[in-house]
Subunit: 189 residues, 2 copies
Amino acid sequence: MPRVGMTADRLTQAAAELADEIGFGNVTVSALARHFGVKDASLYSHIKNAHDLRIRVAALAFTELADIVAAAMAGRAGKDALLAFANCYRDYATRHPGRYAAMQQDLAADSLAAAPARRHADLTRAILHAYRLSPDAEIDAIRLLGATMHGYITLELTGSFRHTSRSSDLSWTMALTALDLTLSNWPAD
Amino acid sequence: MPRVGMTADRLTQAAAELADEIGFGNVTVSALARHFGVKDASLYSHIKNAHDLRIRVAALAFTELADIVAAAMAGRAGKDALLAFANCYRDYATRHPGRYAAMQQDLAADSLAAAPARRHADLTRAILHAYRLSPDAEIDAIRLLGATMHGYITLELTGSFRHTSRSSDLSWTMALTALDLTLSNWPAD
DNA sequence: GGTACTATCCTAGAGGTACTAGGCAAATAC
DNA sequence: GTATTTGCCTAGTACCTCTAGGATAGTACC
C-alpha cells in the first residue's frame, strides 16, 4: 500500500474544493476518501470525525476571506471601506459557495474556527470607525451590516432573486448605498 | 398490525414538529417512522422520498407564516406594516426554527412549496406600497428588505449575536427603524 | 354475509455513510 | 539494522434511504 501523503491540511483543502463543486452539505468522509483513492477509515488518522472536518473547512474559509478583506480594506475608510469589504465578501461567496456555507455553521467558542472567525468580525467592525458611532450604536450597526450582507448573499446564492429580471448587481449597489446613508445618519437611540 | 392512520399531511405535521425539536437537518424518514411506531418502509406509501418530505414541510411553513403575516398586516401601512411583518417573521423563526430552516431550501419552480412561497413573497411586496417607489426601486427595496430580515434572523438563530452583551431585541428594533428611514428616503437610481 | 379490491403495513434486502478496533507494512529515529 | 511510530488496510457495527413483494385490515358491492 503506497502512502498517499494525506495530512489534515491537505484533507481540509480538498474538502473545501469539493464543497465548492458539489455543495458543502454533500462533502462526506466517503467522498473525500474516494478523492484520495483510499478507504474511508484511513481518514480518521488525520481528522477526528466528520464534524471536525467541517470545522476545519470553516477555519480555512474564515482565514482566506479575512486575508482578502484585510488587503482590500487597507488604506480605505468610510464608504470606500464598506464597498471594499462588501464586494470582497460577495465575490468570495460567489466563487466559493461551499466554503461560504461552511462559515455559516454555529461554531462553539472553543472551536478551531473561533479565532479566524473573530479576526473576521474585527475587520467588520473596522468598517465603522469612520462613521463615529456610540458603542451601543456600533453593535447595532455591525449586526445590521452583517445581516444585510449575509442575507443578501444567501438569498442570491439560493436563487431567490432569479424570479425577477432586474440585475442583482444593481440591487447590491443600491443596498450598499442605502447602508452607507444609514450609517452616516444613524438614528438616535 | 393495527393501522396507525398515517397520511401525507399528518406525516408533514409531525415532521415539522420534529424539525423544531431536533433541527430540520436531523429530520429523517427513520426518525419519523419511530415517532409513529412503524417501520421505515411504511412511510413510502405516503411520501415519495425524503426530499419530498422536506418540501412538504417547507410548504406547510410558508402557508402558516403567510397566514400569520396576512392577519397581522391587515389594515396597516408604512412603518406599521413593516413592523408587523418583520416581527411576525422573527417570532415565527424563533418559535419554529426547524420550519424556518425548511423554508430556506432552494425550491424548484414546480415544487409543491412554490405556490405558498409566492404568496409569501407577494405579502412582502405589499409592505412597500405606502412608500411609493419606482418599479426598479421596488425590486431593490424588496431584496434589501428580505436580505436584512432573513440575514438578521439566521445570524441570531445560529448564535452570532451571543458574543456581545447588548440585547438582540434592541438591535432588531434599530434595524427596522433604519429600514423604514431608508425606504422613506430611497436614494435616486 | 361473502367476495373482490385497495390501501396500509410488513419483511427482506441492497447500497450509502460514519465510525471503531485491530493488523501489517512503510517511513523514520537511533 | 533494529525499534518505533505512523499510515493505510480489513472487518465489522450502526444508522439512513429506498425498492420489491407479501399479508392483512378496511371498503365496496352483490
